[in-house]
């Protein structure tokens, strides 16, 4: 695999904000964002971002490096993201639906120069600030007064009303960070991942070659901004003059109405949205005709979800996208084809697909050697989407980002994904599970996703998770499965498992859950399931 294509020219000083600025100049009247009943145009958002950026730039003795956006699904959340970039800073999303301690840890690690806060997050602000030293300046665009606890600079709505827009924006270099996000670390403490302008611009360019976004496109915005796929929602749209539709949490349970009402053309969500709709029979054939792309990422996409969604949105291309934050949003994709895709499915899941052009992927065995096609191993990716490393964490960076010798003269820097994959000879990657989800049960190697795939074949099952249990001396003695669905027949499931799986893979117990516990990003929370077993 060589990285021959995809060189992107940064000589014109482009950065993540450039697309928005260009469209604000060319077509200021076009809609950029719809939140609830409010539509904001490119021109209006550009002006506001320049005012907020001016307020930040004027009050800081140095350039703003990182600006927190403590706002959730509000106008200020989106406007604040832009304003941070306009001020020449990386944006750092904070989320009031997270525990305050987590927000504090993120704000401390991020060493923020300023925080933009919406009204709904304001009640948590005092507690967050009391843990920060020095205290960043605070921007409160929808509050007139606030009793500042610390001797920090506070900018309120009134101050902003008399602030002039910033004319010339502080320059941004391609290796500067565009955003800093925190992913859950295995230690329980969130790890910062800084993504550069160069990383994200490469990604946006590759995505445009694949999708050909036009100004008339209308994007769903389903992901929380603390989840990096949200960057696609905003900046893939704004890069090309399209508009973003910020959905309420409740609309995600049954998005058909919202999609039709706003005639969305691009849908992007976690697969669990489809699982909810399947469970309630809300996915009706032909019910979402305006969609031209239906994208899913965040966890494996069950084959039946892809099939049913395609029936519901028949004019759309259904795509499964894969990628960790460390590889800039997504880096592998599969376009579902009802004729050819079913044969490629493994364990009833849609394949991860082909690596994006210009990236280099290898599959590595336990001894560190690069494996040939059709062999199972850990997935490593090098190239322009591989981020510089973890934020202020050299130890973790050295652990996960490694140099590999590709020939006698050439080394590349890879990110170790921790995902187990196999690459077919046609270049299609298939997902096997997390490296740490592969277990040895009584000495046998067990792929948990194989058990999950089998359970999902049962029509009553929407979702299945298998875990090793119990553990004795750190080794799994057996398998326990959790399934979510309606009218699940456990005996039937056990029978199917016994027929298809070797005895050591057959779950000793199958628990039916009303719903799977999800983490903050809407992915199944395996830790919670393991904790339930431990507590029982």
């Amino acid at each position: 695999m060589t990285a021959a294509v995809g060189k992107i020219d940064f000589k014109d000083g482009r950065s993540l904000r450039s697309g928005f600025i260009w469209h604000a100049q060319q077509t200021p009247e076009r809609p950029a964002l719809v939140v609830g009943a409010t539509t904001l145009t490119y021109g209006a958002m550009d002006r506001t971002a320049r005012i907020w950026a001016k307020a930040i730039v004027d009050r800081l003795p140095r350039r703003a490096e990182r600006v927190g956006v403590f706002a959730y699904r509000s106008q200020i959340a989106y406007q604040g993201t832009l304003a941070a970039l306009y001020a020449g800073a990386a944006y750092v999303p904070l989320n009031r639906t997270f525990p305050v301690d987590r927000t504090i840890s993120m704000a401390q690690d991020g060493r923020l120069d300023a925080i933009i806060v919406d009204a709904a997050s304001l009640p948590q602000l005092q507690e967050v600030l009391s843990a920060l030293n020095p205290c960043p300046m605070i921007l409160l665009p929808d509050a007139d007064i606030w009793d500042s606890p610390a001797s920090t600079s506070v900018v309120t709505r009134r101050d902003l009303e008399t602030t002039a827009p910033l004319g010339i924006l502080p320059p941004v270099l391609q290796d500067d960070l565009a955003y800093l996000l925190f992913t859950s670390g295995s230690t329980g403490k969130p790890k910062g991942v800084g993504v550069t302008h160069s990383n994200i611009l490469y990604f946006l360019e590759i995505m445009q070659r694949r999708f050909g976004i036009v100004p008339g496109d209308r994007f769903s915005q389903t992901f929380a901004q603390t989840f990096d796929v949200s960057v696609w929602d905003l900046f893939m749209a704004w890069e090309h003059g399209a508009s973003v539709y910020a959905m309420r949490q409740i609309d995600l349970l049954a998005p058909t109405k919202y999609i039709n009402q706003h005639q969305l053309t691009v849908w992007f969500s976690v697969p669990s949205v489809v699982a909810f709709m399947r469970r309630k029979n809300y996915l009706r054939p032909q019910s979402m005709p305006t969609l031209r792309y239906s994208l899913f990422a965040g966890e494996p996409l069950p084959r039946r979800s892809a099939e049913l969604w395609l029936e519901a949105a028949p004019n759309s291309s259904v795509e499964n996208l894969y990628g960790p934050t460390e590889l800039t949003i997504v880096c592998v994709g599969h376009r579902w084809d009802p004729a050819t895709s079913p044969a490629l499915c493994l364990h009833e899941f849609v394949p991860m697909g082909q690596l994006f052009e210009g990236l280099c992927g290898i599959v590595v065995g336990p001894d560190g050697t690069i494996l040939a096609d059709d062999q199972e191993g850990e997935f490593y990716v090098a190239g322009p989407q591989t981020v510089p490393g973890y934020w202020k964490n050299d130890e973790q960076t050295a652990d996960r980002f490694v140099q590999m010798l590709m020939s006698e003269t050439q080394a590349k820097r890879f990110y170790k994904t921790g995902d187990r994959v196999v690459r077919r000879t046609d270049g299609t990657y298939l997902y096997l599970g997390r490296v740490d989800h592969q277990l040895k049960v009584r000495g046998y190697r067990v792929e948990l996703s194989e058990i999950e795939g089998l359970l999902c074949r049962d029509l009553a099952v929407d979702c299945a998770v298998a875990v090793g249990w119990p553990f004795i001396d750190g080794r799994a003695e057996g398998i326990v499965a959790f399934v979510a669905g309606k009218d699940v027949d456990i005996q039937r499931l056990k029978g199917a498992a016994q027929k298809a799986l070797p005895p050591y893979m057959v779950p000793n117990e199958i628990h039916v859950l009303e719903d799977m516990p999800l983490n903050a990003n809407g992915k199944i929370d395996r830790l919670v399931l393991a904790e339930r077993l431990a507590a029982a």
Partner: protein, 78 residues
């Protein structure tokens, strides 16, 4: 009144909140307890208790206690 009492109890039990907090104004997202997952549970509990099928559009409307009370009132032919 009996019926409404029963509904309040169902809402309180499903959301795991004290029954005294079940007022017309209580809405989806107000409370950490009323999130996407509990909303689905609540809708399914209402379907079961009152023998109705709630469509996707209705489910989105039933995002506060007032709307749920009115809906159940109609189901009961009040």
């Amino acid at each position: 009144m009996g019926r409404s009492q029963e509904l309040d109890e169902l809402i309180a039990v499903t959301l795991k909140v004290p029954q005294s907090t079940v007022t017309d104004a209580l809405s989806f997202g107000d409370h950490a307890a009323w999130d996407s997952l509990t909303h689905i549970k609540l809708i399914e509990a209402i379907e079961q208790a009152y023998g109705v099928t709630i469509s996707d559009e209705e489910m989105l409307e039933l995002s506060n206690v007032q709307a749920i009370r009115e809906f159940v009132g109609k189901v009961n032919g009040e």
